[in-house]
Every structure is written in C-alpha cells, then in structure tokens.
C-alpha cells in the first residue's frame, strides 16, 4: 500500500456553529422557564394563602422564627410593649391568632410581620418614636399584614422560588443570582398595594383604640426627616416604600372615614 500524504478535507469533529446564538437560545429558554415557574408560583401562592390555617402557619413559624428574628431580642422591652399590643388586638382587630411583640436591639429603623403572629420591631425604630400613637400605628400596620396575610404571600413565593432554583442548580450559581435580580422587583411592586391596605387597617385600629388617628402622619414625617439627616438608610422604606401617594392616601382615607386628629399619649422614657 502506498503512503500518500494528504490532509483531510473539513473537520467532522467540530460543528460549525455560532456559540453566541446557542448561548442566547439556551439562556433565554432557561429564563423563560424560570419566569413561567415564578408566575405560576405567584398564582399558586395566591390560591394557597387564604386556605392556609393558623395552625399550619404557626407550625411553619417554629422553624422560621429563630432564623428571622436573630439573636438580639430584648426580652424586657418586649414584655413592656406587649400590653399595648394586647390592647390593640383585643377590641379592635380580628386576627386568627394572638400576636406577640419582640424587640430586637438593632439600629435598623424597621418593623416586620413574621409568620405565626410575631411582630419584630427594631430598637432603631422605637428610638425615633415619641408617642404611643405612633407606635400603635406601626403595630396596627403590621397587624394589617397579618389580617391580609401579606406576610405569608411574600414568604411563600420567596421560599418556593428559592427551593426550585436551588434544586435545579445548587445553592450557588450565577444563573440563579441573575434570575433572582429581575424577580425581586416584581415582589416589591406587589408589596406596594399591600402597604396601602395595611395602612388603612392601621388607621382603623388607631381610631378604634384612641378615637382619633393623630400620630399616623407624624410617624411618616419623622421617618422622612430622619432619612435626610441621621440615617443614611432607613430600612423601613425598603420593605415599606414611602411615596407621596402613600401619605396622600392616608390623608384621603382619614378624611373619607371622618377620622380626626387628637391628643397624643407620650411614650414612656425607658422605651
């Protein structure tokens, strides 16, 4: 057999293809699947939340609360504030469970509604408040989230979404992080409607307890002032966005319901 030196024509082992086009198709497809999953999750959560019993919620809370509350719980302050919360929920709200208040020693200016009826309030927020009415407004607002079960909606979607993306790709991957970026925004705008509803609830509670709604607006004015001076970042606004529309809505709602302003009850100094 004669040896003829000859190069093969073409390369069968390498497919001629556009890597960028393949990347866009795959990444786009993946994002689309995640988006569809996410949207259907949102629908699923909406269907599920009203049917979730208080018992199941509290069972869930057992596992979630320690992680969500952190370690800096001030038990003394928490006990001192509990009577106020009890007063608010006893006559003026119909919640499926008894709410408890926990004070966290943290400079954060924020309050959260945690599953199972726990209101977590940071001492940073407590420090900016001067009257009991303002505190009652904050508590009423968080109770509004309980009444409308907003805290579960936010939690449910977040939890299920994270679970799925983690199951698919493991906890640390860029695709997951990238997708989460886009989806957080939807969650925020979703919250804005709920904030207004919770505000209305808080106004009702305030009026029912004190006979007037004084303190509600001063609370927002104070936070807005603090935003510009003392604190660089008021985290209350990141979970409870403050917009001119929201303040305006508070005024309009008070006027419609005939809620007036009145004398404020001062907060005790040691709080």
């Amino acid at each position: 057999m004669k040896f003829i030196p000859r190069r093969p024509t073409g390369n069968i082992n390498v497919t001629k293809t556009s890597a960028i086009r393949e990347f866009l198709a795959l990444a786009g497809g993946l994002l689309a699947i995640i988006l569809v999953l996410y949207l259907s999750l949102g629908v699923a959560v909406e269907i599920l939340v009203p049917h979730l019993s208080a018992g199941i919620e509290q069972a869930m809370a057992v596992n979630l609360l320690p992680r969500m509350m952190g370690k800096e719980i001030d038990d003394t302050k928490s006990r001192e504030l509990q009577p106020l919360l009890d007063r608010l929920q006893e006559h003026c709200t119909k919640l499926p469970y008894h709410c408890t208040i926990k004070v966290s020693s943290s400079p954060k200016v924020n309050a959260l509604a945690l599953p199972g009826g726990t209101i977590l309030i940071f001492s940073g927020l407590l420090d900016t408040l001067t009257s009991e009415n303002e505190l009652a407004f904050v508590l009423g607002h968080e109770m509004g989230h309980f009444a409308h079960r907003d805290h579960l909606r936010g939690l449910g979607r977040g939890l299920v979404f994270m679970a799925i993306s983690t199951a698919l790709f493991g906890p640390h991957n860029q695709i997951n992080r990238l997708a989460a970026r886009f989806l957080n925004l939807t969650e925020l705008s979703f919250s804005r409607h709920q904030e207004t509803a919770a505000d209305h609830f808080a106004l009702e509670v305030l009026h029912c307890t004190y006979g007037h709604v004084g303190g509600a607006l001063t609370f927002f004015e104070k936070l807005a002032a603090a935003k510009h001076s003392r604190y660089n970042k008021i985290s209350f606004f990141s979970s409870h966005p403050l917009t001119p529309e929201r303040v305006h809505d508070l005024q309009v709602y008070s006027r419609q319901r005939g809620f007036g302003s009145g004398k404020l009850t001062p907060l005790r100094d040691n709080l």
């Binding site: 040896f3 030196p5 000859r6 190069r7 390369n11 082992n13 390498v14 497919t15 293809t17 890597a19 960028i20 393949e22 990347f23 795959l26 990444a27 497809g29 993946l30 698919l168 790709f169 860029q174 695709i175 992080r177 990238l178 970026r181």
Partner: protein, 149 residues
C-alpha cells in the same frame, strides 16, 4: 449589581480571549500539520518490516493540557440542563488531540514512521474531581521507527 458586572465582564473576557486563543491555536496547528504531513502515523500494531533495515524503534509521547474559557464552560453548563451535543467543547478536544499528535510527531524527529499510535484524554484541575470539566489533557503516544538509510 457588582456581582452581575463581574459576571458579564468574565463572560465577555472569556468569549473574547477564548475565541482569539482558539483561532491562533488552529492557525499554528494547520501550519505544523502541513510541515509534518510527510511522516506516516498509523494505528496498526504490527507492520511487515525487514528487521535488518530498522535502525531504531522508540516510544514517542506528546501531551498537552488545554483549558476551556469561562464563556464556553457556562454554555456547556446550560447545555447540561437541556441535553444534546456539547458543541462548545468540540473544538477544545479537537485542538487537544491534534496538538498532542503534533507534539508526538515533533518528538519523533527524523523517524520514518510512527506505528501503534494511541490517543487518550483525561481531565485535570480541581473541578475535575467534582465531576466537572476543568482542563482537558490529551496524550498521544506511539512507536517511532527509524530505518537505516
């Protein structure tokens, strides 16, 4: 936002640098293949040769380690989800095999032929132990025969 910027930068860098390196490598491979075309390189284990005419028979080995770039690795990762041919690794392995063969041929400088040629591949690097592709090694070896002139 910082994470995303770094991610996109890595992606662009991976694509740019990876494409450039690949083109350069292929140019070099083509040139050297042309130069070494005259050397018969076959997989046959035994060849009918007159023993008295064989001057020397030695083992020649050529090996190379090539890494895949960030962009292609990500592309392969996406492909892993949906399945199908991982085209982004094809050039990597093709280059590795041909480069290993070329190095082997270069090693056999002056030989009349190389017989019993085999090619093997393996993955190297930290990621390889987790079942992922880090870098790929191709190793080509054979028996170089030099005939008496």
């Amino acid at each position: 936002m910082g994470d995303l910027t770094i991610f996109l930068l890595l992606l662009a860098l991976g694509y740019g640098a990876g494409t450039w390196a690949e083109k350069r490598h292929y140019r070099s491979i083509m040139e050297r293949e042309e130069q070494l075309l005259h050397l018969p390189t076959i997989t046959t284990k035994k060849v009918e040769l007159d023993d008295s005419k064989v001057e020397r028979a030695v083992l020649v080995v050529g090996s190379v380690v090539i890494s895949v770039d960030y962009f292609k690795r990500l592309l392969a990762g996406l492909r892993n989800i949906f399945g199908g041919t991982i085209k982004s690794y094809e050039t990597l392995l093709d280059r590795a095999r041909r480069e290993a063969l070329l190095r082997m041929k270069e090693k056999a400088h002056g030989a009349s032929m190389i017989i019993n040629v085999r090619i093997e591949t393996s993955t190297v690097g930290k990621r390889a132990f987790k079942g992922k592709l880090g870098s790929v090694e191709a190793i080509a070896y054979g028996t170089a025969i030099k005939m008496k002139s």
